[in-house]
Symmetry: C2
DNA sequence: ACCTGAACACCGTTCAAGT
DNA sequence: ACCTGAACACCGTTCAAGT
């Protein structure tokens, strides 16, 4: 004993408890950060700080930032609910799947951008892909056509979601585009000028539904399928 | 005179001549860097080093990195040649425009990704957009449909180009996807398993042509146009 | 008006050292 | 096996100081 003072044991913890480090905890913290701060919030250093540790500690569970991004993306895609019932025609149900995918991408800021950067390959994306392929197989579509169609459909949904959420955030590039479009002269760009109001018309949802209809019509109507 | 030594005047220049700083020079250096080193090569510090100055000097001519990216992108799009002749049907000529756009995006590594990140708004993109709208107006398409179609078409071409060039580069995310797909079991994902070979089949060019046909068929065939 | 170096506040990643 | 701090090699951006 070093002294006679009563040993008052005081917890030095400022947090309830330090969560044990694990892949899941890291991914959860990452998704949380992404939701709160958007894409720039999803950094190894910030995730580490959130978990009360150093960035180097994360490398036990994760190879690099890219992998974390993949994992966070797929984690978020877990929220996409798939229709298991066989009610309604395949077109209607496919639209529902795409809408669910679309909404999840739009819910977290930066998630859509993430999906464009690191093409999704986790279990939840597989689940969604399988569901889309199953629905497409109900049409008279060739297998090869369906295989390429999944890409076409998901890619475009992702792209609209990106546009959608970058206009919600104060994205510089979309503001620039609007400014440029407003300054277009009828002499130089007659067609753009004539349609300049309609190019930004419609909500994300409206454009989304329209695009899916166009794609599905094209897919079922165009016979030159891939060899 | 400090000394009697002959004053031998020796140029300290190691380069032919220091190019005067200007917006154009900066953008040109940026595009050069992008072509050589891809997206990570396009940084303000690297451009500055290339021009034998400090990063801070660039801010006289450029607001921020985002603007440089926009400018570099549009500069590169200057290479997209548009068909001015009225020969062939509009579908064929539209396809040519999109092919030219596609090839330019594929030529410089990282350019397609840049086009996804910062939606293009420079004069060259306006030129391309105007040309597409002009061709679409030759069809019996509604103006509103055409306005949304430009987006749909260019976005998708950009997305394929991104996929294409990220598979040329040693992109981690596409390798991961291929691995995951190869490990899929028929029990869990029967449809994916059945089509797993066809999902990666075809060259970028083939997939591109197929997709454009699908889109154009959908656009001309699907009557529910945007209100 | 233009250019500069230094500073600030960040990054991802590695590594030797601890437990 | 896991965690850590410090270091390395980068970023974009700002600012006071020079010309």
């Amino acid at each position: 004993m070093k002294s006679k003072e009563a040993r008052v044991i005081v917890s030095r913890r400022t947090r309830p408890a330090k969560a044990a480090l694990s892949r899941d905890v890291i991914v959860a913290a990452g998704l949380d950060l992404l939701t709160r701060e958007g894409l720039p919030g999803l950094s190894l250093r910030k995730v580490a700080t959130e978990l009360d540790t150093g960035a180097a500690s994360l490398y036990v569970y994760i190879d690099n930032l890219g992998e974390l991004q993949s994992l966070v993306l797929d984690q978020a895609l877990g929220a996409v609910a798939l229709p298991d019932q066989q009610t309604g025609d395949w077109r209607r149900r496919l639209k529902d799947v795409l809408i669910a995918y679309f909404h999840t991408l739009c819910e977290h800021p930066g998630l859509a951008q993430l999906a464009l950067m690191t093409l999704p390959s986790g279990p939840n994306m597989l689940r969604i892909t399988e569901s889309i392929l199953a629905l497409l197989s109900e049409s008279r579509m060739h297998g090869a056509t369906a295989a390429w169609a999944v890409d076409l459909l998901t890619l475009y949904v992702t792209a609209i979601a990106t546009e959608q959420s970058s206009s919600q955030a104060h994205d510089t590039s979309i503001e620039r585009l609007e400014q440029v479009l407003a300054a277009v002269t009828p002499a130089e760009y007659p067609h753009i000028y004539g349609l300049r109001d309609q190019m930004f018309s419609g909500s994300g949802g409206e454009r989304f539904e329209w695009a899916v209809d166009v794609l599905l019509t094209g897919l079922t109507e165009s016979h030159p399928s891939p060899s």
